[in-house]
């Protein structure tokens, strides 16, 4: 099996995996970084969202071979103390219900705010539309993003 050098959350990892393995399963199965979630595997739900060179990407669609050499951030590495403004705002609004989709929502929101610190409702909807929440926490997510934009 080929090996790949990955830079994840500022740490270097060497992993063995099939060329076409999606980054999602390398994170979850090989590295034990299970904060990144599986929801659909086809880029439709956003549960697997990570940052690649600062942009929100679906890790289920990214092959491990493509991910080499890029700066990857997962929910575990978003902040050291779990106090990224988006995480703080999420706690303040007590957003999660089941919680399963939330890592993906947070990663998408954090990337949005980095590129657009004061998003309008339309901007938020546009950026977040790829993240499904079956529990229906959308109203709180929008409020939390607005709170985070002020932190």
């Amino acid at each position: 099996m080929p090996t790949f050098n990955l830079k994840i959350n500022n740490e270097n990892h060497t992993v063995e995996a099939d060329m076409d393995t999606s980054l999602l399963w390398v994170l979850r199965d090989t590295l034990g970084l299970v904060g990144t979630k599986y929801g659909c595997g086809i880029g439709q739900c956003g549960a697997c969202t990570v940052h690649v060179d600062g942009n929100a990407m679906r890790s289920c669609l990214l092959q491990v071979s493509q991910a080499s050499g890029m700066e990857i951030t997962t929910i575990e590495g978003l902040s050291k103390e779990g106090d990224h403004p988006v995480q703080q705002a999420w706690l303040e609004h007590d957003v999660p219900q089941c919680g399963y989709c939330q890592a993906g929502q947070i990663m998408t929101a954090a990337a949005l705010l980095k590129n657009n610190p004061n998003p309008s409702d339309k901007d938020i909807e546009g950026a977040m539309n790829g993240n499904i929440c079956r529990c229906g926490t959308y109203v709180r997510i929008k409020e939390a993003i607005k709170t985070a934009s002020k932190l």
Binding site: M1, A17, D18, T21, S22, W25, D29, G32, L33, V34, G35, T36, K37, Y38, G39, C40, G41, I42, Q44, C45, G46, A47, T74, I75, E76, L78, G82, Q87, W90, L91, D94, P96, Q97, C98, G99, Y100, C101, Q102, A103, I106, D121, I124, E125, G126, A127, M128, N129, G130, N131, I132, C133, R134, C135, G136, T137, Y138, V139, R140, I141, K142
Partner: protein, 730 residues
């Protein structure tokens, strides 16, 4: 003061102590990760813990562990159940950590998540647990100081002498409390004295969720464990004959592949009836398993009818026309009343099969040996799983342990046991611990779907526009959604409710607010149309009917309390400023009672670029005492989004027995841009024992939506989904 008999003895306490405390901490190291994240600040980790009873463990530093007995599916019971214990225990919530209790039928009751029943059924048991422990701690302090208990007070986990200087913390006296006699009777607080209940407490797992800590079944890891996947037949009505076993087994990372049979001799209501023979593949990594699944070449055999959606609709319509109904209720003479009515209106409503689509797909860990089985994962009903596993494995139930992880969505899906049973069958055949993972496609195409329904409503008005006759006839696959004794039963002189069921081999089951999730939308849209025909305001029209049910109820009993039903309508009327009109804003109202809770909702909707957009939703809820208001608001908001979303966009259709929608590219779930912009929730204040919230927020949203859409488009909406397939992605 309310006094309550404690109902448990020393022995049952000790039994649970062993199971909940030691057993769990030593035996399931991963599950100790399922301790809440709100680690008490400024309190040292205790050196020693003292089990006061099966719900409560107190550390020598004053830290308190409260066990949450029921599965957490997002309804937030892991916060609200311990809150109830903490209230009666009189402990500072800051010093509390929460741990998931294991399945223990010897001590806990009703360890399941379904029917919005967790809080309702456990209210007394949780209060009693807290009150009993409090009393034992007080007894211990009284004995220590040699004064009567009546000379003591307690607040925030500190016991004080009323007329003296002495005080002692729970942590310091806990070791002595363990040895105290368990009181036969304890006093419960008056509702007005609650300090914690009815205050908003943050989700105890919040920090862990937002930092991506392992919490869910899919995250579970055990040293030496393999991963497994299944492949079920592609269509309902098919079974597996054989497959390219040798080829699959020789693929990289694949350890074994075989066919499992999960048939049970005496299946229960929650056991699989669809796919009992499945291909199982065991391997090292999820990715390799997914590739192996793609390489499968199986021979499937047709063993039943291959159904499709058109067939379903035709059969239900034929059934509805056949008149083969079973009468659920008959008051007066509906036929005669329709004949003499000045106006008669008849409408037919339908809804498709829908999938649960919990965001966390089905999965389970199993470690089956010759004489034991350990099952860990997301189940809403651990006891049913234990029983089915005992049957499948031919083991006594005592040799089976079931532990619950946090659950990435339930909605009824995980009341069904098949994925846990499949994991057990795979582990047994493979001979080692495995974690079974479903792909999204597996999850969506081997469902226990919400049944498909059709109901026909008919109403008759007299010359003064009074409702004098009402009938409902319903069918569905495999059940009708008609509730004969719900509204407007009791409020109409001549009333009939009739049902007939049609068969299907598509597997169905409980889906958030079973039957209510269809009936509320149909009935409340119909009532709206009847009110319009009567020339009456939709809220006033409903209130008139409730007046009748209050003052002079028709027929035998009905399920609802008309005063509380009318109460939520009045509250939502006030909060939404009903009657006020704004240009371009269209309003719809609905009220529904299910799972012992009353909810009325008003939706404000506008058309933006030809698309409906919900601007505001007001919800009025009567669920008795609200344990954790902000969390209660959250779950009601979720119910509204869920109801609106499914009614607008979701359906599962079939072709030759196979679902056409297999993933979120075809199956549409509501997304951010389609969600209401604002949802406000108001609770009726009373001291009635709390009832559930997981389900009741959803059903009325569908009626309110249909009625608001009518204002916007001039069209009535009879068929779900209201909007046809339109993929929207980010």
């Amino acid at each position: 003061m309310t006094k309550i008999r404690t109902q448990y003895d020393r022995r049952s306490f000790l039994k649970i102590s062993a199971a909940a405390g030691g057993g769990m901490l030593i035996g399931f190291s991963w599950l100790t990760g399922c301790v809440s994240s709100s680690e008490p600040e400024g309190l040292a980790i205790p050196n020693e813990w003292f089990e006061i009873n099966g719900y409560i463990k107190i550390g020598d530093t004053g830290m308190v562990t409260i066990y949450s007995p029921n599965p957490e599916i997002g309804q937030n019971v892991r916060t609200s159940m311990p809150m109830i214990v903490a209230e009666e225990l009189d402990v500072d919530w800051k010093n509390v950590v929460v741990e998931q209790a294991p399945l223990n039928t010897g001590f806990y009751q009703n360890q399941f998540a379904g029917g919005s029943l967790s809080i309702r059924l456990s209210w007394n048991a949780l209060r009693m647990a807290g009150a009993t422990a409090r009393r034992m701690l007080l007894d211990a302090a009284a004995k220590e100081w040699n004064i009567p208990v009546s000379d003591l007070t307690v607040a925030q986990g500190v016991i004080k002498e009323k007329n003296g200087e002495r005080s002692i913390g729970y942590g310091e006296i806990a070791s002595k409390a363990v040895g105290m006699e368990v009181p036969e009777e304890v006093e419960l607080k008056e509702v007005k004295d609650f300090k914690l209940i009815s205050t908003s407490v943050k989700n105890v797992d919040g920090k862990k969720i937002v930092t991506g800590k392992p919490l869910f079944g899919l995250d579970f890891q055990r040293e030496g464990m393999h991963l497994a996947m299944i492949q079920h037949p592609p269509a309902f009505g098919m079974t597996v004959k054989d497959f390219n076993q040798d080829e699959i087994k020789s693929m990289p990372g694949i350890k074994d592949a075989f066919i499992i049979d999960t048939s049970l001799e005496k299946p229960g209501r929650f056991d699989e009836i669809g796919f009992k023979q499945l291909i199982a593949i065991v391997g090292d990594s999820t990715w390799q398993l997914m590739k192996a699944k793609k390489a499968l070449k199986a021979n499937w055999e047709v063993v039943g009818e291959l159904e499709d959606t058109q067939m379903h609709q035709d059969r239900m319509e034929t059934m509805l026309a056949s008149g083969k109904f079973q009468q659920g209720r008959k008051d007066g003479d509906t036929e005669a009343a329709f004949k003499k009515a000045a106006k008669v209106i008849e409408r037919t409503y339908s809804a498709p099969f829908i999938a649960h689509n919990t965001m966390e797909p089905m999965n389970f860990f199993a470690n089956v040996t010759d004489d034991s089985a350990e099952l860990i994962g997301p189940t809403q009903q651990p006891k049913a799983l234990e029983d089915s596993a005992a049957q499948l494995l031919n083991l006594p139930v005592e040799n089976i342990t079931v532990n619950m992880t946090r659950i990435g969505g339930g909605f009824g899906r995980r009341l069904y046991q098949h994925f846990g049973i499949e994991a057990a069958a795979i582990s047994k055949k493979f001979g080692g611990p495995i974690k079974l993972i479903y792909t999204r496609e597996d999850d969506m195409t081997q469902g226990t779907y919400r049944p498909t329904y059709i109901s026909k409503y008919k109403a008759g008005l007299d010359e003064n526009n009074n409702l004098i006759a009402f009938s409902v006839q319903g069918t569905g696959m495999p059940e009708s959604a008609v509730f004969p004794n719900r509204f407007p039963a009791g409020a109409v002189e001549n009333y009939t409710a009739e049902s007939v069921a049609e068969n299907t081999n598509i597997t169905t089951g409980a889906w958030r607010a079973p039957r209510s999730n269809f009936t509320a939308g149909a009935e409340q849209a119909f009532i709206d149309e009847v009110a319009e025909l009567a020339g009456k305001d939709p809220i006033d029209f409903r209130l008139e009917l409730f007046d009748r049910a209050i003052n002079n109820p028709v027929g035998g009993r009905h399920e609802y309390e008309a005063e509380r039903y009318a109460g939520v309508l009045k509250l939502v009327k006030e909060k939404s400023n009903w009657g006020e009109t704004k240009p371009g804003v269209h309003r719809g109202v609905a009220a529904y009672f299910c799972h012992s809770t009353y909810v009325a909702e008003v939706i404000d909707l506008v058309m933006e670029d030809g698309e409906p957009k919900i601007k505001n939703v007001w919800c009025a809820v009567d669920c008795g005492i609200v344990v954790n208001p902000d969390a209660a608001i959250n779950i009601i908001q979720g119910g509204v989004v869920d109801g609106v979303g499914h009614a607008m966009y979701s359906q599962l259709t079939f072709n030759n027995g196979a679902p056409n929608e297999m993933n979120f590219d075809r199956y549409q779930l509501i997304r951010h841009s389609q969600a209401p912009e604002k949802i406000e929730v108001f609770f009726v204040q009373n001291e009635i024992e709390p009832t559930g919230l997981g389900e009741p927020g959803l059903p009325p949203a569908i009626g309110a939506l249909a009625n608001a859409l009518y204002g916007a488009t001039g069209k009535r909406y009879y068929k779900q989904p209201f909007v046809s397939y339109q993929p929207v992605t980010g």
